[in-house]
Structure formats: structure tokens, C-alpha cells
Amino acid sequence: MLELYDGALHVSEILSRWYDEESESNYGAYIPFIGTVRSEDGIDGLSFDIYEPILQSWFDAWQLRAKEAGAVVKMAHSRGDVMLHESSYIAAIFSPKRRVALEMIETFVEDFKASAPIWKYDLKDSKRIYARERSTPIKGSGILGGKR
């Protein structure tokens, strides 16, 4: 399940609800990853744009991949502004055994960072500045430019 919210995530509510949703599913391991906005470089917060159609198909492919490994993946992300020490991202794996969950949360989070169509902006001095230097070109980028 993919959940998108305007503004910061309600972390406790989401973690508890996901735990309850799978409480009778007989999964032995539940590993959430919670991403929180850090104070650095004098920012007041972060802001996010999401392109939902491609995020959804990327996530659907991951749900299938998890299912093949006997696991379940859930994700929540913020749209718009998220201030310092608030959370903007939660991903979680449920699986029968710990090894699958430990490996999959890492692979999922890294693929998310490299592929999910989400753009991050620093909120600083009342401006919204694209975090270009921290961003990663999606695989296959540049085919319309020098990389043809």
C-alpha cells in the first residue's frame, strides 16, 4: 500500500496501523524505515513534489517483487512542506523470516532513492530551492541530451 500525505507524516499512527493490519498475517519480522528532516545547512525544512502515476507503477512493481519473496511492502510519503524534525518518509517490509526483511528493506530504500519520481527542495530564507546536488538521475536519464 502506498500512502501520500500533505505535509508531515503521523509516524506513530502509521507504524501502529501497519502493525495492526498485519497482526494476523503470521509475519515474523516487521522492519519500518522512518526518514526525518535533519537540521543542516541552515534549512527550515524540506518540500517535496511527487509525480504519482510513475511512483504508483514503480511501487506496484515492488509489491509484486515482495510478494514473490513471501513479503509485503508498505510506504508513506509527504507532499509539500515538512519542517525540521518532522518525518516525510516511512517504508516497511513484513516477511515470515528476518533475513528476507533485512535484505529487502535495504534494497527497497536504496531503489527508492534512485528511482522514485519525487523531487526535494530546501526551504531556506522563505525560498524553495531544488536540492539538485543531492539528487540522482533516474536510470536511463539523458537520452534526449548528450547521452543519446
Binding site: 513534489d49 527508492f112 528511482s115 519520481p117 523531487w119 533516474i138 536510470k139 536519464s141 534526449l144
Partner: protein, 73 residues
């Protein structure tokens, strides 16, 4: 005619252009010096499916999206 959409930080309104292939799209967009910069780092989707080469024939009404470098989380 195909519609070209610019996602995330490429702050541009969508364009309608006359293009039969992604090569045509590249040629037309690269005439705009500000867009040209983004072409080198952006991924491309046709009708919301990412493509990995310009070897794609476009139909009338297709939607081409440019996705600049991402940073979720």
C-alpha cells in the same frame, strides 16, 4: 501533435509539439537553451512509462514527460 510535460523543478508549462519520434522531441527542446541543460540529466517517460532509448515512435496524442534527478525520502 504530442504533449511534453516538465516534472518537478523544471518550471515550464506543458508544450504541444509536432514530433514523430523522441529524436524529434530532443531536437525541438534543445533549441531552448534553458531546457537543453535539463535534457542531459532528465529521464523520459512516454504515457507514464519510462523509456531507455530514443528509438520510440510517437502517435498523435502521446504524452512525453521529462523527469529531472530525484531525491525522495
Amino acid at each position: 501533435m504530442v504533449k511534453v510535460e516538465f516534472l518537478g523543478p523544471i518550471s515550464r508549462e506543458p508544450m504541444q509539439i509536432d514530433a514523430k519520434t523522441l529524436e524529434d522531441v530532443a531536437k525541438i527542446l534543445s533549441e531552448d537553451s534553458q531546457l537543453k541543460e535539463w535534457l542531459e540529466s532528465a529521464a523520459v517517460a512516454v504515457n507514464d512509462t519510462l523509456v531507455s532509448s530514443t528509438d520510440v515512435v510517437l502517435k498523435d496524442g502521446d504524452r512525453v514527460s521529462l523527469l529531472p534527478p530525484v531525491c525522495g525520502g
